[in-house]
Point group: C2
Chain length 290, copies 2
């Protein structure tokens, strides 16, 4: 059973701008279009740097480069595996419009021989979420799931039954409480359904914002685990739509897969805030190691 202090959402100690997430996604403008970053080992899962974290680093560089602040739609194609350590984000302004501007970015690292290797390439259109009208006609409903105190996090499993082998530093940085209905895989009894649901926050209590939503959509265990697959599920492409600024409080993230075929699957994520607003939608194409 979860202890009380981990079952409840972290109280806000860290703030937007002063948190683990902000420090680890920081980019420094070296010259126009060139941003230095330092990929933290703190956001790795089984030694792979999390794809949502990488997208947040690039998303921050684009927010600095473009005249609009918020990623409305951002697409990343993942090329090679990133490693903790120095990285460079190159940005290009493709078009500047009144309501939206479009940018492109590449995240690159140097290999052992000093050769530059591109890790991901990104296209994005940015706008200003605060400038949008309030009109909401959402037919979607928030996911039905138990309250956090009836959900389970990494700390709740006995040490000898933790299902994620290797280092999973990211688990220490997230407050993630999985719906037990989507947790069969961790007990060796996957449901066969391509669904995963969790309460999501940052462990240091930093509130959610559009940038941290880019992390939230890719932070849950893969739906493939509930479909009976045990191997890793590397992302080929991930597109996120940020639809509104999240209200304070924990987020609910629901991920689903409708089609696992030919060694590939899609993962659709919805992120809901505490005010029952759909704040982000994403879809990724990933490889399934069958």
């Amino acid at each position: 059973m979860a202890e009380t202090e981990t079952a409840e959402a972290p109280t806000a100690r860290a703030t937007v701008g002063d948190s683990e997430f902000d420090r680890d996604t920081a980019v420094t403008l070296r010259e126009p279009g060139v941003h230095d970053a330092d990929l933290s080992a703190g956001w790795t899962i089984v030694n792979a740097v999390n794809g949502g974290y990488l997208l947040a680093v690039v998303g921050r560089a684009l927010a600095q480069a473009l005249p609009h602040p918020d990623p409305f739609t951002i697409s990343a194609h993942y090329l090679t595996a990133s490693e903790p350590g120095p990285a460079v984000v190159r940005t290009e302004t493709v078009r500047t419009g009144r309501g939206l501007s479009t940018g492109q970015a590449s995240l690159v690292q140097c290999d052992a021989d000093g050769n530059e290797v591109e890790r991901l390439r990104v296209l994005a259109s940015y706008g200003d979420l605060d400038a949008l009208p309030d009109d909401v006609r959402t037919s979607a409903a928030p996911p039905s799931m138990p309250p956090p105190e009836h959900c389970f996090g990494a700390d709740d499993a006995p040490a000898d039954q933790r299902s994620m082998p290797g280092s999973s530093a990211i688990a220490d940085r997230l407050w993630l409480k999985l719906d037990p209905a989507t947790l069969g895989w961790a007990l060796g009894q996957p449901s066969g359904k391509g669904e995963m649901r969790a309460w999501f926050g940052l462990a240091d209590g930093r509130p959610a914002d559009p940038l941290s939503l880019l992390l939230a959509v890719d932070a849950l265990p893969p739906t493939a685990f509930e479909m009976g697959l045990t191997g890793w599920v590397p992302t080929v492409e991930l597109t996120v739509h940020v639809r509104a600024k999240p209200a304070p409080g924990p987020l609910r993230v629901a991920i689903s897969t409708r089609n696992l075929a030919g060694g590939f699957l899609e993962e659709d994520a919805e992120v809901w805030d505490s005010a029952d607003r759909l704040v982000a939608q994403s879809r990724q194409l990933a490889r399934a190691r069958l």
Copy 2:
């Protein structure tokens, strides 16, 4: 009531490689990375060049530029409105891998002053659909809809009730039969649900292939019409996953919107082939003119 010859799927007269669609999406390599195209006025809706047709033009150039033939995942950000006439597609190979290669492309046209204007920018990862294993675990089911002879096309409406004002040349090139359950908008009685479903083919009988799927996902009337909006719904970004080569025969396309908010909506499309296989999935972010 539909006449028999339009209610039935066109019999194959045109072939892949010799059809309206192939002629109008043709690209000619001028030099490495530079492809000449000629955007046809035949694929316009209310004077706007269809976004799926534009993606197919760019997708064909990328297929020629990359070592793999099929678009597995292709994302386009639409920058400015394209016009019928000459265009250039610039392609860049981002990464070449064993199973997948990634490319980038821009479609540009010259304005009246001879200045180059970028219309859309595209990132895509290509592979070989024929090389994938046959394994299919799809929890999704094909859309439930009546047979084509109980659905309705542009020809079926009395001329004075046709809902799409202006020129709609694309209607002559598509065989599109809309599910009457999603046709309330055309009679002034939108259902309020963000759903649109249709049988889809090319009017000259050209069989479907991965390239024509890029057109199919963006060829139906917008879901916004069934949500009571009447204005146009310009695409900001469109991502398509092609999951399998379509079997011969008509396609079924189902589009849905879960969230219309702040002047934007997403449109998710699924394309099913005659063998009940989910052959493509797409999502776009579009602006709603409220």
